[in-house]
C-alpha cells in the first residue's frame, strides 16, 4: 500500500498532484489573509460619490484632518443639518439608520476602514500641511460609495512616500524615516 503510494508519488502525475496541493494550501492562506483586508459592512451605505458631486469638501465632515491627528467622523447632527431639509431623507431606505439614530439620540456605529494599527501614530495635520490632498492617500472618492482603501496601508507604502517627499533634504529624510516618528 505504502509502496504503491510512493511509486505513484514519484511518477510525474504524483509530482504534479503534490504541486497542486501545495498551491491550494498556499492560496488558501493568501485568501485567509485577504479576508482580513476586505472592506467591512457599514451601518449606512454611505455614498461618498454623491456627496462629493454636490461639492461638499472632505474637510466639511472630516474636519479634524487639517488640525490634528484624527480626521474624525461627523456627528449625526451635522448629517441632519442638511438631511432634515431633504425630502428624500424620510423616504429613503438607505437613510433609515440615520433617521433612527437621530430619533433615539444614539451614535451611528461606523467601522473605520482607513486604519493603521495601534502602534502606528499617524497624524493627519503634517500631511495636509505638506500640501498632500486627501486623494493622495485615500484615492478618488468621487468614484466610490463606501470607502475602500486604494492600497494596503503598510509600512513600505508609507516609507516610499516619505523617502520621495524628503527628496535631497537629508535632514528631512532623517526625520521622515526615523522609527520614532511613527512608532512610540
Amino acid at each position: 500500500m505504502v509502496k504503491k503510494i510512493f511509486s505513484w508519488l514519484i511518477s510525474p502525475l504524483g509530482w504534479i498532484s503534490l504541486l497542486i496541493l501545495a498551491l491550494i494550501v498556499f492560496s488558501g492562506i493568501i485568501w485567509g489573509i485577504n479576508l482580513t483586508q476586505i472592506t467591512p459592512e457599514q451601518p449606512i451605505e454611505f455614498p461618498h460619490d454623491r456627496h462629493i458631486s454636490f461639492g461638499i469638501q472632505c474637510l466639511y465632515c472630516h474636519q479634524g484632518a487639517s488640525r490634528g491627528p484624527v480626521a474624525g467622523l461627523p456627528t449625526q447632527t451635522k448629517c441632519w443639518g442638511c438631511h432634515q431639509q431633504l425630502g428624500i431623507t424620510k423616504t429613503s431606505v438607505l437613510l433609515k439608520p440615520l433617521v433612527q439614530a437621530i430619533e433615539k439620540n444614539e451614535p451611528i456605529q461606523w467601522i473605520p476602514v482607513a486604519t493603521v494599527p495601534d502602534f502606528v501614530k499617524f497624524n493627519h495635520r503634517p500631511h495636509i500641511a505638506a500640501s498632500l490632498n486627501c486623494e493622495a492617500c485615500h484615492g478618488d472618492l468621487s468614484k466610490l460609495t463606501i470607502y475602500e482603501n486604494p492600497q494596503i496601508l503598510n509600512m513600505g507604502w508609507c516609507l516610499d512616500c516619505h523617502v520621495e517627499k524628503a527628496g535631497d533634504d537629508y535632514e528631512k529624510l532623517v526625520k521622515l524615516t526615523d522609527c520614532g516618528t511613527c512608532h512610540y
Partner: protein, 176 residues
C-alpha cells in the same frame, strides 16, 4: 556491430577482483565500460584503475565564493537598505568585527552546502529508478559491472569464474 550486454561478476575478495579487472582489460573491455561497486570504499589504486574525477572540491570552492558574496551582501548592502541607515549605540553602520563573523559564517555555510550538493550532483542523487545492483554488495562483496558484445558473453563468464568470481550473470536493472 553486435549488441552489447551488461554482465556482473561478484567477488568476495579484493585480489581476485583486481585480477579480474586486469583480465577484462586484456579481453578488450574498455576502462569506461567497467564499473566496480563495493560495500567499503576502495581506492582506485587497489584495483589498479585510474583515478576518478570528482567535482566536489571545485563546487565547494564555488560555494565558498558564493557564501562570501552572500555574506558581503548581508554585511555591506542590507544596512543601507533602509533609507537612512539605522544607528545603534553609536557604532558604525557597518561595524568591523561583526562583519567578519557574518562573512565567515556565510562562507562556511555555503561552502558546506555546495559540498553536500556536490555529492548529489556528482553521484546523480537521488535516483529512484531501477539500477543494476545486487544486494550482496553491501555484505562486503565486490561487484564488477562491465559490458561486452553479446557474442563474448560466454568467454567473459568463463574467465571470470576461473578468476574466482562467485557469480557471473547478466546484470539486470532492478528496483533497489
Amino acid at each position: 556491430m553486435a549488441e552489447n550486454i551488461s554482465l556482473l561478476a561478484l567477488f568476495s575478495d579484493l585480489e581476485p577482483a583486481a585480477d579480474a579487472i586486469d583480465k577484462l582489460r586484456d579481453l578488450g573491455v574498455a576502462e569506461e565500460q567497467m564499473n566496480v561497486i563495493s560495500g567499503v570504499p576502495l581506492n582506485e589504486a587497489m584495483l589498479g584503475r585510474k583515478e576518478q574525477e570528482s567535482n566536489v572540491p571545485k563546487l565547494a570552492f564555488a560555494g565558498a565564493i558564493t557564501g562570501f558574496l552572500v555574506g558581503s551582501f548581508l554585511a555591506f548592502v542590507t544596512p543601507y537598505w533602509y533609507p537612512v541607515p539605522i544607528q545603534v549605540g553609536r557604532q558604525a553602520i557597518i561595524p568591523g568585527p561583526p562583519t567578519i563573523i557574518v562573512l565567515f559564517e556565510m562562507t562556511m555555510l555555503f561552502l558546506l552546502l555546495a559540498t553536500f550538493l556536490g555529492v548529489f550532483l556528482d553521484s546523480f542523487f537521488p535516483y529512484y529508478r531501477p539500477l543494476k545492483y545486487v544486494p550482496e554488495i553491501s555484505d562486503g562483496k565486490i561487484a564488477i559491472f562491465f559490458s561486452c558484445p553479446e557474442n563474448q558473453k560466454d568467454t567473459m563468464i568463463n574467465s571470470m569464474t576461473i578468476l574466482g568470481a562467485e557469480k557471473v550473470e547478466v546484470a539486470e536493472a532492478k528496483q533497489l
